[in-house]
């Protein structure tokens, strides 16, 4: 496990969300998964999404994974963003905006607030609509004419969120006057980049795992 993390440090964010603590010594991935009751195929699936940007899992690979656990993982990620990642960025942001002209700083603060609001709404939509919809599907009691519209709205929202995050990063990188504290700004941007890439992975998981899986389930129940 340590080898995997040393080589692909972005996996570091994955462990706590699966309930796997650090300090695991020399244990292997298999051992740790068994110890913490994490499905090995699921761990592999998530890790591959993080490591290989062009990885599209096949339905067979998906069928080996307990999707309930994936939903739980996604839910934990949402929580992680809201409870850890965002407060961190907000701290940097408020320090960064402090020395700026009020009329500019309010503007950026508002833009950030709008972005966050959009993201929170999206998380809520997933947690309240998509996830229960999937759970309902997975518990054998499926209503064949269940409404499948949900899967479509999904991807668009993701693109939109990634674009906004990207816009925000570019504003902060390129267009904020340089008088504000530079180390603060570098820290903030580092955080933003790591958040962007994590959210991108998060969206990939939903687009490449959840969505095909929903569609697979839908097709199964029509047969």
């Amino acid at each position: 496990m340590a080898d995997a993390i040393n080589q692909y440090h972005s996996l570091l964010t994955v462990l706590p969300r699966l309930g796997m603590p650090l300090g695991f010594g020399e244990k292997s991935v298999e051992q740790l998964c068994a110890e913490h009751h994490v499905s090995l195929p699921l761990f592999t699936l998530i890790s591959r999404i993080y490591i290989q940007t062009n990885y599209f899992p096949s339905i067979d690979e998906l069928r080996q994974c307990p999707m309930q656990d994936l939903l739980q993982y996604l839910y934990q990620s949402h929580k992680d963003y809201l409870e850890n990642k965002f407060p961190h960025i907000e701290q940097h942001l408020s320090k960064l905006l402090e020395p700026m002209d009020k009329k500019y700083s309010t503007l950026i603060a508002n833009f950030y607030a709008t972005f966050k609001e959009k993201l929170v709404k999206h998380f809520q939509y997933e947690e309240e609509v998509i996830f229960p919809y999937m759970r309902q599907f997975m518990s054998e009691n499926v209503n064949a004419d269940s409404d499948s519209r949900h899967s479509n709205a999904f991807r668009e929202q993701h693109d939109d969120i990634e674009d906004t995050l990207n816009d925000l990063t570019n504003l902060l990188l390129k267009y904020i006057p340089s008088n504000s504290s530079s180390s603060e700004r570098v820290d903030m941007l580092m955080d933003m980049y790591s958040l962007s890439s994590d959210i991108e992975r998060h969206a990939m998981m939903e687009d490449r795992i959840l969505l095909p899986y929903i569609q697979y389930l839908e097709s199964q129940c029509h047969d």
Partner: protein, 196 residues
Amino acid sequence: MIKIAIAEPSQMLRLGLGNMLRELPEVEIVFSTDNLNSLNARISALHPDILILNPQLYEYARRATIRAEFDQLPNLRFVGLISSYCDSQHLKQFSGLIELNDDLQRVKSTINQVIGAIQNDSDEPDTDPLSDREKEVLICLSKGLKNNEIADTLNISVHTVITHRKNIVRKTGIKSVAALTVYAILNNLIEEKDII
């Protein structure tokens, strides 16, 4: 779909690079070859967008004029696959270079750059500041005008407005109108009170 052809004498490199490229979405390898025989004909038949070519395939004296060999294929892009030392003069003929130590990410970005160059062929470079016209379009956008309203205001066609918008997005790296508005205010193009 981006069509790629590979011309590389080493089987190991040819197959290895082919496998890496297959990892990329929207890439299709139309053929790969280890020699120059009928390279031109195959390219004309299968019209790849990009030819990944090892300059070592040519004897030294011909290397300076590799591009000239493909004169009749003006749209073909050249990417050099560099496995040993090459004169930098010769390398200038290529739009991008792939080297032995490049990882997938790197190869991908090289390919993307070359593709981007195809798509933006006639456009100005990204580093230019916004033109006056683009600034005017940006100001209209920030005020909440729609494409057709901007076209009317500036007396240009909707099509032109769209082109300007594309250029604004490309140059600033910012897509959403909300963020562009922030950009416009930060750059003193508009006052906050102008926004509805």
